[in-house]
Each structure stands twice: as C-alpha cells, then as structure tokens.
C-alpha cells in the first residue's frame, strides 16, 4: 500500500497553507484579566467558568516558560497575540446556516462536513480559530447517549460533567502553557461515552488556525464511563504565514473501569519554510488517567508539523490492572524542533505500559525523545517496556533521547531500549538501482521504519500519515 500512496505525492510544499477569506471577529492583541473576561463574556459563560479562567490567569502571571526541554524557543511576547478569533457565524448550527466559505475550507482540507459526503464512519467536530464550526453525526450518537459536541456547548448544556472532570487530570497550575490555556481557551471538543456503550464510529476533531496574529488554545475532554469504548482522532493544519503562531492546547482523558480509549493524532501544523521562517509553536499538554480497574488508554501520534513541538501525552495508571500505550512517530525537517515523549505514572497494581517512539530527523532539525516512567510504592508488579529509535537523514540534524526512570517498588520491571540509525547513500543508491527514485526510496524506508506506529492508526489516517511522512521529508536526501 505504501508505494501506491507515495506515488500520489507530487508536491513538496505544505499543501494546507491557504487562507480562508472570511469575516472574523477578532479581539485586540494583549492579555489581561479584562481580556479573560471578554473571552468569557463572548462565550456567554457561567460565573464558575469565568472564575476558573481568572484563577488560571492569576496563576499563570506567576509562572515562567519552561526551559528544560532540548529546544531553542525564541522569546514570545504574550502581549502581541490576539487571544480570540471567531469566524463571524455564531456557533455550531445546521449545515444550511454554516458559511459556505467554511464548508469550502474544510472540503479543501479533505474534511467534508455534509454528512452524506462525510468520511464513512467518522463523526467530525470542525474547529476554526476559536470556535467550533460544525459537529457532524451528533444526533446519531445521541441515540446511544453519547455526547459529542464543542466544549462551549458542553459548558452550556452539560455543566455538571464539565465541572466534575475539567482540570481533574491537568490542573491549572500544572505548567505554564496549561495555565495559559486554562485562562484563555476558546473551544475544542467534549466527549462522553456512557456506561457499557461502544461508540459505533470514530470521533474526530479537526483543528484549523486561519486568522493571523492569533493563538489557538483549544481544550478537549473525553470521559469514557465504565465498560465503554471510543476511538478518537485529532487532525490539525494552519495557513502558511511568515510569523510564528502559538498553539497551546490541553487534552484530558478519563477512563473508567473496564473502559478503553484510543486517541490518535496526526499533527500537521504549518512547520515554517525551509529557512525556518514562520511556523506554529505547538506547546501541548495531553494527559489521561486510567481511573478504574482494567482500564486502557492508548496514545498514537504522528507529528510532522509545527516549527517547535513540546508535547508529552501521558498516562496515570491508577486502576489496578490498567494499561497504557504511547506510540509515536515524530518527524523533523529543515529547522523544525521537537521535544516529545510521554510520562507513564504507575500507581495501581499490575499496571502495564508500553512506549514505542520513532524519531526521524532531517535537514538541520532537532528531534528529542523525553520520557518518564515512574512506579509508585504501591504499584506491585508494574511493568514498562520502552523502545526509542532514532533515524537520521543527513548529518546536520540532531537526535536525542532523555529517558527518566523512578522506580519505587522492587517488584516492578522497567526496560528501556534505544537505537540510532541512518539512511545511508548506499541504501538510497541500492533502491535507485532497482528503479526507485530517491524520494520514493526515502518514503519506503521511512514508512518501513515507522510502520509499527502507523499500523496503530485507523485506516483512513494511516494512509494520510504515510503520505505526510513522505511529503515532510521530500528534498531531505540527495
């Protein structure tokens, strides 16, 4: 399959770089308590939500940007960003009322919002800048008691659930970007799967930054009640712009007893140009908790975009016999930088975690894996296996591995393996000699290297991800 897909790939450029010409309600740049109040007011939020935001904002003002990652982050002026931008088309609504420009935009991105045309078996929440534009298949899902809506709608219609679970995994004080997000977050998705329900289709949120000089701060909350199952996908793109754009998101996942959540991301924010100009700063806090016994959480990520990525999808294994996985492919080319990995916090007995990280670096990029495995004192028989591989294309890029282990229970078994390899000129020439072009050879080798992770993605995304890997690395060898 890989080779058919690779053949389709013809353009070396970021093909999602267009902008949509749509009237946007955008607030002036700058951040203050007043701005937080304006955002809350624009969203007609209840008092408790405003209080939460203000608490986060006040805490944020006491914090500084983290500097421990292996990243070179230029100073960011948080007063030069606009914290709210909404296409002028108030909130999710029936399709007839959605601005045709928006429909066109999402069609162009391959995300048709007309249900009859939609990707079969996938319900989509489409978020542009600060608001959710449209959520498909809501009614079908509602019949099973599944809630899938924008975060704003959830605040309005399911305040009990939001109050109960929001910030229960990522508290406002967790880190600088999480605090910032908690203060100014705009929209995102909310998912609730009731007890005993297997979600009949993939749920997905598609994030799109459009307006310039704005940050995107979305929040996703997924609650899988006992004995339930859901597979969730997240995709993202942004226009080509010369200035850097900030994206600071939070994803929280709560998995109850015997429930299972699969969360997959194909991250393709604009990476900047070949000289490192522009691109999205992707500073994201993703964490889940396996709260109940036998619960299961799986993170799969394919990270190809963004100028800078700072992201560690993590899991707290609280329930006995719970298990978690982290499967990651992170590609950096040109001047991109990524510091990504996971934290597996084993608290319950017989908890299992598996980490598979595949880094691919090209150009003058830097790609780091950073992972923490912590085994608490009560986590009898906890088990972790981590495999971290790095693939280098060229000799001007960097690959680094920073594994941390804190084991406080002697029955635990924690294993870590790491490899570094290179695509050599000999390998490329060998492929060339069999009639395979250099671009296709790189695609073939890279997809072969990443296939264990790509195989974890739902079919439609796996195809997309394979193409993306090839495109991202075009021109990186030879």
């Amino acid at each position: 399959m890989a080779e058919d897909i690779l053949h389709e790939v013809t353009s070396a450029d970021y093909k999602y770089g267009f902008t949509t010409d749509i009237e946007t309600d955008i607030i002036p740049i700058g951040l203050s308590e007043d701005v937080v109040r304006i955002i809350s007011a624009k969203k007609n939020e209840p008092e408790w939500m405003l209080e939460y935001r203000l608490k986060a904002y006040r805490h944020w003002t006491t914090m500084t940007m983290p500097d421990w990652a292996h990243l070179n982050v230029p100073p960011i002026n948080y007063q030069s960003i606009s914290y709210y931008a909404a296409p002028k088309t108030n909130g999710p609504k029936s399709l007839d009322e959605v601005d045709p420009e928006l429909l066109k935009t999402f069609n162009k991105l391959g995300i048709p919002l007309e249900e009859q045309m939609a990707l079969s078996g996938i319900a989509v929440d489409a978020v542009m800048d600060s608001v959710s534009v449209k959520t498909t298949f809501k009614e079908v899902l509602a019949e099973k008691g599944i809630i899938f809506c924008s975060f704003s709608e959830a605040v309005e219609h399911h305040p009990d659930l939001i109050q109960k679970y929001m910030a229960s995994v990522v508290p406002v004080s967790d880190n600088f970007y999480a605090a910032l997000n908690s203060a100014v977050f705009s929209d995102g998705s909310f998912v609730y799967i009731p007890k005993g329900v297997r979600c009949p289709m993939e749920l997905s949120t598609y994030f799109r930054i459009n307006a310039s000089n704005t940050g995107q701060f979305e929040r996703t909350l997924i609650v899988a009640d006992e004995d339930s199952y859901v597979s969730y996908l997240e995709g993202c793109t942004a226009p080509t712009r010369d200035e850097n754009q900030l994206h600071a998101a939070i994803v929280e996942i709560i998995v109850m007893k015997n429930a299972e959540v699969k969360y997959s991301t194909v991250q393709n924010w604009y990476p900047g140009d070949k000289n490192g100009k522009g691109g999205v700063y992707n500073f994201v806090t993703k964490r889940g908790i396996c709260k109940g016994e036998n619960s299961k959480l799986s993170w799969t990520q394919v990270e190809t975009g963004s100028a800078i990525t700072w992201k560690y999808p993590s899991c707290i294994l609280q329930g006995d016999n719970s298990s978690a996985e982290f499967y990651s492919v992170a590609v950096t080319n040109h001047h991109q930088q990524a510091d990504t990995g996971t934290k597996m916090i084993h608290l319950g007995r017989n908890t299992r975690s598996h980490i598979l990280s595949k880094g691919i670096s090209a150009g003058v990029s830097n790609n780091s894996y950073r992972g923490l495995v912590r085994v608490g004192a009560k986590a009898e028989n906890a088990r972790n296996f981590s495999q971290c591989d790095s693939l280098l294309l060229g000799d001007k890029c960097g690959a680094h591995t920073f594994p941390y282990m804190e084991v406080n229970n002697e029955t635990a078994i924690v294993e870590h393996e790491a490899t570094t390899s290179k695509i050599s000129e000999d390998q490329i020439f060998y492929c060339n000699q069999r009639g395979i072009s250099t671009e296709d050879a790189v695609g073939l080798i890279v997809n072969g290297y990443a296939k264990e992770v790509l195989n974890k993605l739902p079919m439609e995304f796996a195809v997309e991800a394979q193409k993306l890997l090839a495109i991202t690395l075009e021109g990186s060898v030879g």
């Binding site: 080779e3 020439f429 060339n432 000699q433 009639g435 073939l444 080798i445």
Partner: protein, 251 residues
C-alpha cells in the same frame, strides 16, 4: 547495445577508470577479470550511475541513449541491473514491498499499469523457485540479517524478477559454495536470450564453467588491456596477473 568509449572516472579526485573501451552486443556474455583494485566495481558503479563517482571524460551509449545523462533509476528502468558485490541491508522494508515498488516503477516508466496483487504473487513464487530461495527470506526485510550467500542469491532473485536487458554481476560468485554457484549460474542462463546481455565480473574460472562467456576481458589499472575468448580465463587462473602487468608496463 552498450558502447563504452574512452571512459575516465574519478572518486574524490583520484582517477580510477583511465580510458576504458568496451562494446557489448545483444545476446553476448562478457566476463571481466582483473586484480583487486583494478576498477571492476568502479565500472559497474559508473554504468549504473552511482553518484560517488565523477565521469570526467568519455561516452557511454545504451540502446541508443546517452547513458551518462540518465539518473540511476532511469538506467535501471531502461533495463540495466547490477548484482552488487556488497548488497545493502534496508531494515523495515520487506522484500515483498521492495520488489513490488521496483516492479511498479519499472512498469510506470514503460507506461504500464501497476501489477495486480495476484500476478505479482505468482511472479514472486515463480522466481523464488528459480533461485531456490527460502520463503522466509522473501518475507524478511531487504537483506537484513541475510548471510553472505543469501544476499547474493537475493540479488539473482531480484534480477529474475526485473528481467533486465543488461545484467552486471559484480563478484556474485565470491563466497558461494558450489550449490549456490550452480543456482546463480542457472538464474543467469535462464535469462539468456538473443536480446539480453550480461557482464560478469569474477575472479574465478569456476563460474565460467557454468556460464560460458563469449568474451573475456582483463581490466587492469582502469583500462581493458586484454580481450580474448573463454580460454583467456583459464590462462589467467593458471598464470595470475603478473604477466599481464609486464605486458602492459612493457609497452
């Protein structure tokens, strides 16, 4: 089908091929022998377009085309196949995927649609049998963890799959036991046709007992200094290369 005229080639500024001439016509088998370091592998690299070598002078035409202007993959798709002296391992890429990609690239080059799954599997099975290749090898990553002999056999398998017009075997016989040698020779002989040709680089006469060459050439210090029929191979094996050196230097 192949004309090489006064070919000079460098690596890192050092001249390795120093005015090489060779003509290969359809249906012919040419053996090239010569001492280590003479430039035999360099010749195969230059013909297949390995970018580490610079051609500084000379002409090469293949089936009427200027070969030196073509990219390595174009030369391959024009029908030139090299059985590498040192085949390369490509971890993570299955032989199946690799071969299907190669076959489809070739078909695309010839304006043919991609091969169907059933046709491809049939072809794989047929050619595996031809070179008596283990099923296990075909399911593994390209050359990864293959023994020396398995790698060589895999080269011949790929040659059989791609059915080249001109195949260049660079010491494919080195390190092979007599059974493997017979299989390799068998693979080459099966491909022999009035349209196809082969260049066989070898140190040993014994391969030439299985694959009978029409011409034997001696490559020495970047040039073909002597050509003859199959008896030359025997003579070289008996007498070594010193007399050639003397002949060349005496001139």
């Amino acid at each position: 089908m192949l004309q090489i005229k006064d070919l000079h080639a460098n690596i890192n500024g050092k001249e390795i091929l120093k005015g090489l001439n060779l003509t290969v016509r359809p249906g012919e088998i040419h053996a090239i022998m010569g001492p280590n370091g003479a430039g035999k592998s360099t010749l195969s690299s230059v013909l297949t377009g390995n970018p580490v070598f610079d051609v500084t002078h000379g002409e090469v035409t293949f089936l009427g085309k200027n070969l030196l202007e073509l990219a390595p993959e174009e030369r391959a798709n024009e029908g030139i196949f090299l059985s590498f002296q040192y085949p390369v391992e490509i971890p993570g890429v299955s032989m199946v995927n690799f071969m299907r990609t190669a076959i489809n690239e070739q078909r695309k080059y010839r304006n043919l649609p991609p091969v169907s799954a059933t046709d491809f599997l049939r072809l794989m099975r047929e050619k595996k049998e031809l070179v008596e290749m283990d099923n296990k090898l075909a399911n593994r990553s390209v050359n990864e963890g293959f023994s020396g002999g398995e790698k060589k056999r895999n080269e011949i398998f790929q040659m059989a799959m791609l059915e080249p017009r001109l195949s260049i075997l660079d010491e494919t016989d080195s390190g092979l036991d007599i059974d493997a040698l017979r299989i390799v020779a068998n693979g080459v002989n099966k491909l022999k046709s009035p349209e196809n040709a082969s260049i066989i680089i070898t140190h040993y006469q014994r391969l030439l007992e299985y694959i009978v060459p029409d011409f034997v050439h001696v490559l020495y210090d970047g040039r073909i200094v002597k050509s003859g029929d199959k008896t030359l191979a025997l003579e070289l094996e008996n007498k070594g290369y010193d007399w050639i050196k003397q002949e060349v230097e005496g001139k």
